[in-house]
Amino acid sequence: MSLQDFLHMGGYGLYVWTSYGLCAIVLILNVIQSLSRQRKIMRELTNKLRQLESKK
């Protein structure tokens, strides 16, 4: 099987690869959003803590 056959998917290439592409996008976006949210919360809480300590 050549790469071209593989991408062609027996004429259904567009359907198959659109599905897989959208799936990859949604799954990866979920990871990125969750990780960046975690980082943002860590940063915010650390800043808040520093402010509290500097006031003491």
């Binding site: 593989f6 799936c23 969750s34 975690q38 809480l45």
Partner: protein
Amino acid sequence: MIFQRFYRFASPQHFYHLAVLLTPWFAWATIILMIVGLYGGLVFAPADYQQGESFRIIYIHVPSAWMSLFVYVLMAVFGGIGLIWHVKIADVLAKSCAPLGASFTLLALVTGSIWGKPMWGTWWVWDARLTSELILLFLYLGYMALQSAFDDRRVAARASAILALVGMVNIPIIHYSVEWWSTLHQGPTVSKFDAPSIHINMLIPLLIMALAFKTYFASVLLIRARSEILEYECNSNWVRELLTKTD
């Protein structure tokens, strides 16, 4: 004794550290299972005798659809536990389930639609399976809207848990829709355990992909739960210690 152990496990601090420990294991399992499952599904499995190569959409469509139901049940169970026993971690996990469940439901609908176009000749029909799955998406979205509608986390958790539990009625409807009504959607292929009507070489990649979706869900759920715990517990001593340690 058992209760003590349970409370220790369910304490936010303990759970947070457990989540930090477990996330990389689930993440690596996901990467490995995805590679194996995708190879199996896209290369190794033979083409379907009726649907040709287009059937390969099954390897993301069916795991997404299974996860859309599984995550919903999990969300409702966590919500129920939080509602009855006031376990903080249960509320946190229920809330963290929602965006993931909504994503899986969206994927099941969209990949199903893309698969339906060449096979059925239409992107969408208002048949029982598709309509009940669409309602599931709205339930997830309603749940998320309700969660963000209250300033008080406890009120939000309680209200949305009730919504999730009431919405449980939709789950058996989705599952049995292809048997109760005559639908365009095909009947169950895999869950007929006496004789699954799918070739073993097609089935194994499907099960690997299903497992990959499970571990993917677990790893992202744990990351989301950590964020929720930090917000929930931001005034407690252990979070302060945690934050000063990471500096």
